[in-house]
Homo-oligomer: 192 residues x 2
């Protein structure tokens, strides 16, 4: 019904994603994508209504990646998995990470709000966290999430000591998690 397709939707998203990954989401432009593909802007407009629809597609691609990272790091320990996935994302896609955090975007917010009750449930099953009230668990989780975010932001911005590797990041994260848990347990027992 027409000539052969030279530039597919997937290629367009790929190119747009490359730009977003290196220059940030706001720097996606129709002309840059076209140049990257060696085409004009015409094929883009055949596949996408406008630039918003295209950036939406790129956002979905980004969410897929963060989902993939979470699966790749899956060990069954939800703290570890989320921490590792978040840190990998912050390090491997630091520009995008900054974009997402900075944009205060609804993807992340909704994701968080869905994950918190799940994590609390997981925590209830964890023998290491036995004996805590739900409120205590919530506070522990909040502290760990705050720390993890701070760590990810530092990693994305190169604010950590030069020789810090991924393993060091995980170590300091789990070390601090232990600090919080241990300390909470102590003050709990003391007040008894």
């Amino acid at each position: 019904m027409g000539p052969k397709v030279k530039f597919t939707k997937a290629q367009i998203i790929d190119s747009a994603f490359e730009i977003a990954k290196t220059e940030g989401i706001d720097n996606i432009t129709m002309r840059k994508i076209a140049e990257k593909m060696g085409s004009s802007v015409a094929p883009i407009y055949v596949n996408f209504k406008d630039v918003n629809e295209l950036t939406e597609a790129v956002m979905e691609r980004i969410m897929d990646i963060s989902q993939r990272l979470l699966i790749e790091e899956s060990t069954g320990n939800p703290f570890h998995d989320m921490g590792m996935a978040s840190l990998r994302f912050a390090k491997e896609y630091s520009v995008l990470f900054r974009d997402l955090i900075m944009k205060n975007n609804s993807y992340m917010k909704g994701y968080d709000e869905k994950m918190i009750p799940v994590l609390i449930e997981e925590m209830k099953q964890d023998p290491e966290l036995e004996g805590f009230t739900v409120d205590e668990l919530k506070t522990i989780l909040l502290k760990i999430r705050i720390f993890q975010l701070g760590l990810s932001v530092m990693a994305a911005n190169g604010l950590l000591p030069k020789d810090y590797e991924k393993q060091d990041l995980m170590n300091i994260l789990s070390s601090t998690a232990n600090d919080v848990i241990l300390s909470t347990r102590l003050s709990k027992n003391q007040s008894k």
Copy 2:
């Protein structure tokens, strides 16, 4: 030697800062500033070579503010002061905070690097931190700085529980600081 000055350098920076504060640093434009002042762009170019020189001036203004906050919160306890100042900045200037953190800017980086040795020295004097090695103090400080950054990012992005006030922020910060210190001391004693 010429007509009266109607638009001073200070006024220009003020207007630019207002725009930055509400719309972000990238949204400073010559025409917007002019409109805010009720002038043309001409007075701006008399006072600044180009838009970069102007945004530099705005950055300095922002640094002045963060400095002012630090002084206003000064109680002698460096943890408390930095935490409070950072949290106030994140809450009162959330757009700017996001710009600064996420831009990976050299101001912050240099500031951090200068502050760390100072804080370590202060920590050495703190009776609550007696008996720790310098390496232990460094780890404690790093953990607290990471947590504080995460907390500030959450505050700036409205990611914390709805009813969280400034006092709650300080409470969770100092609570976590205590967790870290207590836990570090325990594991230190255990290994003896």
